[in-house]
């Protein structure tokens, strides 16, 4: 039961992202989904509740569940921050791995990841493109102690997919701090911008269910090509 509704959620989420409901802007009825997935009404309701919480849709009493406004192109939804690659589909996401090595935690990283100074970290720098346009420059620090074997190839693809498939404890929480800053030379060069241009600067702390920090990252988003979305509900 616990995972069944997640499966249904994932299937309907994919349908929404793929545009299956674009014509009607409305989800199917509970009955139609019961038949489609061959599960109980409760399971369907739990899946739809989660879709509502994540900001994909909203219920209108007596009329059904409707899709929320169409997301702007190249927007990255903060509720679904776990995989740029999946979220941007069918737009192509390509990654360019700029750095990958093991380093000892300095004072700042030790504090952020909550490990002793000198603890082993994997340090990864990547440039990511959406639809061949520079989108985000990211610097990631992994707590090596919590990682099984992590290799060069793993750092090139979707890191969330890697963590969620290979780790005993998947990422359950992410705390993000979002601000705007001026970009530095190295970031500007990679993002094809000019020193001092604005950027969205996001710090992320990725945690397991028990609150242990697996990874800390800093993302610098291209100010013209990228935007973040937050779908708030007050019901």
């Amino acid at each position: 039961m616990g995972t069944k509704y997640k499966e249904v959620f994932t299937a309907i989420e994919k349908d929404i992202l793929d545009g299956r409901y674009d014509a009607t802007r409305k989800l199917n009825t509970e009955d139609a989904y019961i038949e489609e997935f061959n599960v109980s009404r409760n399971t369907i309701r739990n899946a739809i509740d989660l879709l509502i919480k994540r900001g994909y849709c909203f219920p209108i009493q007596g009329s059904g569940v409707f899709l929320r406004r169409k997301k702007p192109a190249y927007g990255y939804d903060l509720e679904n921050i776990n995989s740029l690659t999946n979220y941007m589909a069918p737009l192509q996401v390509t990654n360019e791995l700029l750095e990958f090595r093991e380093i000892p935690a300095n004072e700042e990283m030790a504090k952020r990841i909550e490990v002793p100074i000198g603890s082993p970290l994997y340090y990864v720098v990547r440039m990511r493109y959406v639809d061949h346009k520079p989108y985000v420059y990211e610097t990631l620090f992994f707590n090596k102690v919590l990682m099984s074997d992590f290799a060069f190839d793993d750092a090139q693809g979707s890191i969330y997919d890697y963590l969620n498939n290979k780790m005993k404890q998947p990422i359950t929480f992410i705390d993000l701090v979002i601000q705007v800053a001026r970009i530095d030379l190295e970031e500007a060069r990679n993002l094809q911008l000019v020193l001092g241009d604005p950027c969205l600067l996001v710090d992320g702390y990725c945690m397991t269910r028990t609150g242990d920090i697996i990874m800390f990252y800093t993302q610098i988003f291209h100010y013209e090509n990228a935007r973040l979305l937050k779908m708030a509900s007050y019901f």
């Binding site: 919480k53 900001g55 909203f58 209108i60 409707f66 929320r68 406004r69 702007p72 927007g75 903060l78 509720e79 921050i81 776990n82 998947p170 990422i171 359950t172 929480f173 992410i174 705390d175 993000l176 701090v177 979002i178 601000q179 705007v180 800053a181 001026r182 241009d197 604005p198 950027c199 969205l200 702390y205 269910r209 028990t210 609150g211 988003f221 100010y223 990228a226 935007r227 973040l228 979305l229 937050k230 779908m231 708030a232 509900s233 007050y234 019901f235």
Partner: protein
């Protein structure tokens, strides 16, 4: 019932923000809340489920519900972006109305507000100051026939006014968050230079049926605004 769980949610949320649990980093037990609010454990659970979904806390099986790092100095939680006032206490927040006028919807506005081109809109611009220093510059549009706002309302909370006086409840807001270069006018109002960075929130406020109540954008002083978003995959 529905109202009740929301009231309890609001009350526990206020306690979390007020630092009631800062010592233990842990919520009370379901039984303790059931006693305190005189409601069923089911109602308490609905309230804590929402607190978990909004990222305030997380459950550890058999041990209770623990607080997340919801307080980062000076950061505003995106779940409460309307409630700037609460997150920035004890600072003094004031507003200065820059413009209050009526305009006709052009193509872009009509599209964003879901109305016909030429529909009369009420537009206002407001500078918000924290401890007398410019913090953000806000531009908001309302469909005039639907939301009648007078200038004196603008000095207080418009959301509160719309809710209590017009009985229109804001049910959802879509935010599009971007980094921008400030225009000369924005820079002047925010005490910055044209081309300096700005944090821009475009927002679409909607009622329960998804119809637009307000549309607009806020540009924040880049050195004075940080936001917090807590994602949960539970």
């Amino acid at each position: 019932m529905r109202i009740k769980f929301k009231e309890i949610y609001d009350s526990i949320e206020a306690d979390i923000r007020g630092g009631v649990y800062d010592g233990s980093h842990k919520l009370l037990s379901e039984d303790e809340y059931a006693d305190k609010y005189d409601v069923s454990r089911d109602t308490v659970r609905r309230a804590t489920d929402l607190l978990i979904a909004r990222g305030y806390c997380f459950p550890v099986q058999g041990k209770g519900v623990f607080l997340r790092r919801h307080k980062i100095e000076g950061a505003v939680n995106l779940e409460n972006i309307g409630g700037l006032t609460q997150d920035l206490l004890p600072h003094e927040i004031t507003s200065k109305v820059i413009l209050f006028t009526e305009v006709l919807a052009d193509k872009a506005l009509a599209e964003n507000m879901g109305c016909a081109i030429g529909t009369p809109l009420t537009c206002f611009e407001r500078l918000r100051l924290i401890d007398n220093e410019p913090h953000s510059f806000e531009t908001i549009y309302y469909v005039s026939s639907r939301i009648k706002v007078s200038e004196d309302v603008l000095n207080g909370s418009i959301f509160q006014y719309i809710k209590s006086n017009l009985k229109i409840v804001l049910a959802m807001t879509d935010f599009v968050i971007q980094a921008v270069k400030l225009t000369p006018r924005e820079a002047d109002l925010l005490d910055l230079k044209p081309g300096d960075p700005g944090l821009r929130f475009e927002n679409f406020g909607m009622d329960r049926k998804g119809e637009i109540i307000h549309y607009g954008w806020i540009v924040y002083h880049f050195k004075k605004m940080r936001c917090l978003k807590m994602v949960s995959f539970l």
